[in-house]
Amino acid sequence: MASPYQTARISSNLSDLLQTSRLRGQEAQRNTSQKMSEMQDEFEKEIEELQRKAQKKAGKNKGLFKGLNILSNFLLPGSGAALKGLTGLAQGQQQKKGAEMLLDKNMKEKYGGTFLKSGMKNYWEQAEDSQLSSGDVLRGGIGAGMSGYASSKLFGGEEGLFNKMFKKPEVAGAGLTDMSMGADMMLADPTMRMGTEALSKATPMKTLLEQLQSFGSGGTEGVNSEMQKNLMLPMLLQQLFGGQ
């Protein structure tokens, strides 16, 4: 037969058990909330990382492409178009690959079935919207080619604006000056070293001013053509000096 002490102990044990159980329940809820918060943080970090990688991939060789685009402006129209078109294609292809990186199936599987599914769904839809098809890349390349053709026709070749601006006057031994000419080349060029009068007259700024003056005074020939060229000048200068 159980003593009153044993009976009391049973009741007391039950009370302790109930209390412990209640505390454990609260602890479990806290743990779940913490886990959810951790998952949310992890999800956001993974998306940021994915976007960063995709951007890096899409922007790879950006400087080279920029350089090639600038260069294409001063080539003959056909070559300029081809170079700009190819650059556009390569750039488009890289952007396509970068956008594809956004569609991470592992991530979709990891979070798609959890409380983060709506966030994952939104992200996935945006990532799908940003995808480029092969047609888009091709169209981009063709567009770039056409623009390259137009700009190299304006700036490049014998008749181009660039040639007109930077061409040395017809003096003996004088050729085209090159903006990108290095110090060594400049020193090697006797006309540069000796500072001829003809060369001092043919600075780009001077040519530009002359062109503007001739446009301001009404000019004598090809006013429309000059105007068109002069209107393109800011664009040229921007491209030449870094596009800032």
């Binding site: 159980a2 009976t7 049973i10 058990l17 159980s21």
Partner: protein, 156 residues
């Protein structure tokens, strides 16, 4: 209390656990619990780790078992028995009987004694029943908590 036990076992089965006896539910470990809920809700071990679950402890199972409280019933019942015995056959009964065993006064006295004993025992049983029920509730709450944890992670 068999009905309550059965309903707990049924809900475990509905959650995807294999059929088991009530005394075996404390054998479910956190890994088994997590794995069952991962399957049930299509979650991964990374999203729903075993560390998020606590099993049913043997103490909890004990708190929900009749055997834990049986000594209490026995003890309290037995402490009342001498009084009942005395009421039914002691001096008071003899006086009520007044020499005639079949008299109405004797009958009334016996019925009264039985009522007092019965009421006291009913109170004891109700008390024990309440305690056992609390023990059962604890287990039921814990199982519901497992389910809620999985549902929250799933996003239901």
């Amino acid at each position: 209390m068999g009905g309550f036990q059965q309903s707990i076992l049924d809900s475990l089965q509905n959650m995807g656990f294999s059929p088991m006896s009530f005394s075996n539910i404390s054998n479910l470990n956190p890994e088994q619990i997590a794995s069952t809920f991962q399957d049930q809700y299509g979650l991964t071990a990374e999203n729903l780790p075993a560390s998020m679950f606590q099993g049913i402890s043997p103490e909890m199972l004990q708190g929900a078992s009749y055997s834990t409280y049986a000594p209490q019933i026995q003890a309290q019942g037995q402490s009342m028995l001498p009084k009942l015995y005395q009421s039914l056959g002691g001096q008071a009964a003899q006086q009520a009987k007044g020499g005639f065993a079949g008299s109405s006064a004797f009958g009334k006295q016996q019925a009264g004694a039985r009522d007092v004993y019965g009421k006291s025992m009913t109170d004891v049983l109700a008390n024990v029943r309440g305690q056992q029920s609390q023990g059962m509730g604890m287990i039921s709450d814990l199982i519901n908590q497992w389910n809620q944890t999985a549902q929250r992670i799933k996003g239901y």
